[in-house]
Each structure stands twice: as C-alpha cells, then as structure tokens.
Amino acid sequence: MSADDLDELMRRLVPPVEVAPDRAARVMDRVMSRLDEQRSPVAVSSRGFGEWLAACLLPVSRFALPMAAAALLGIVVGQDLRPSTEVVVLDQMLSTTYYTGLDY
C-alpha cells in the first residue's frame, strides 16, 4: 500500500467531521456556565465560621483518639529506651582510653 493509498484509506475510515453551529454554540454556552459555577465559591465563603471549622475538623476527628493513644504509647515506651547514664560514662571512658593509648 503506497503512502497515497494510506491517506485515501484513512480518509475513508475516518471521514472529515462537520461541526454544526448549534453544537459549537452549545459547547461555548456550557463553558460560560461552568465559569459561573467556578465563581460560586464566594458563596461558600459566606457560610458561618462554625460550619467551616466543623467541615475541616470532622474528617480528622475520627483519627484523633488513635493518634493520641499512639503518642502516649510512644512516650511510655520511649522512657525505657533513653540512654542510661552508665552507658554514656562507659562511652566516654572508651574514648578516653583510645586517645591515651595513642599517646595524645
């Protein structure tokens, strides 16, 4: 199949589209009305502060208890994991011994 044949074939498979004026007008009207819809968030901002705060916090509230419990558990467990004084002292001793051995 030559390049010209392919072009002709494509013209037959997907013929040109004639866009009717009323279809174009409908699409433009829809764009303009969607612009109006986009402006409407101004109306949303006029809602009460309490309603806005509730809308923000309500989805978070169901995580509040598990997160608080996790934080408390972290503090309790973390208490036992803090480095003890003995370990720190031993660490200093080892360092000191090392430098002494090198005659510094």
Partner: protein
Amino acid sequence: MDRGGRPYPEVDTASDDDLLRAIAQGDRRSFQRLMERHVRAMLALSTRVLRNPDDADEVVQEAFLKVWTMAERWQSDREAKFSTWLYRVVLNASLDRLRRVRFVAVEEAGDPADPAPGGLDRAMARQRERLVSTAMAEMPARQRQALSLYYFSDLTAPEAARVLELSLTAMEALLVRGKRSLRTALARLGIRGIGDVT
C-alpha cells in the same frame, strides 16, 4: 476598560493575544470571541480523534476553561501562537482520553447490529473507526500525535510541526515512520488496501 484604563480591544479586529490580554482582566466578551474563533476547529479535531462527539465536547470545554485560567500568565511576546498551544492542549487531551476509553469501546465491539434502517451501515462505520483506533493505539505516542494532526486536523505540515514543537524536517521524518507503523498495524488487522474497507 481594563485596569490600566485602556479600552478593551475591538473584538472583530483584535488578535488572539489582544483578546487574551482582555480575558486576563476578566473580559468575558473577549473570551466568547476567542472561543468563536477556535471552537469548531477544536471540536472537529477532537471528534475525529475520539470518534465520540460527547467526549470531544468535554475535552474542548476543559481546554477553554484552561484558557480562561491561564490567560493572565500568557506571554504574547513569545514565539508560540495561541492557536498552536490550543491545538496541542486539545490533541493531547483527546489522545489521553482515547487511551482511557479504548478498553470500554473494545468491550462494546460485540454489540449486535442495530436493526433500524441504516443500522448496518452505522455498525460498519463504527467497526472501521475502531480499527483505526486499535491500529493507532499500537503506535509510539509521538507518531500517534503526528498522524492525528496530519489526518484529523486542518493544519499544514509546518503548522503541525509547530504544535509538536518540531522542525519541519523532523515532523516529516516522524510522519514517514508513523505511516509505516500504521500500515503495519492495519495489515495486522486485515486491512491491506482500500478494497478492504469498501
């Protein structure tokens, strides 16, 4: 008047860049005029790529909404023409949508023919369009873009090259490779010549 006290451009004589400057100031009349200039070409391109007028309408609506929001940032002094940019947006959005809906279309391929007068013709036309869709889906994305502009838009080769941000030579080379791929893909679907689709 815009914020600088200048009158909005006479819409009939204004360039696209003039209209975009007015749109950036919120002038809806200029926006309407800009849409009137380009909407039919965009709908024609998107419809031929998608083979679905409803989907094409949505793609074009989204593209123009993008124009409204980016008008403020549009730089009229740069080389790219607005229409070139718009073609690129609509083409890429259409190809992207086609990729997403293709699987649904394949599922519908087994629908029985409409028994109403002309139903068989319509079914055959749909079948042919699906063949093109399937063949082009197998091609590399860049070749698909080039062929879509070549076959489905009213752009000249230099204009299509600008849409794809290519030199004319590179565009021509891409078209040659694209046509070769398309020919192979169509042959795999049983279409080897014009006689196979009449």
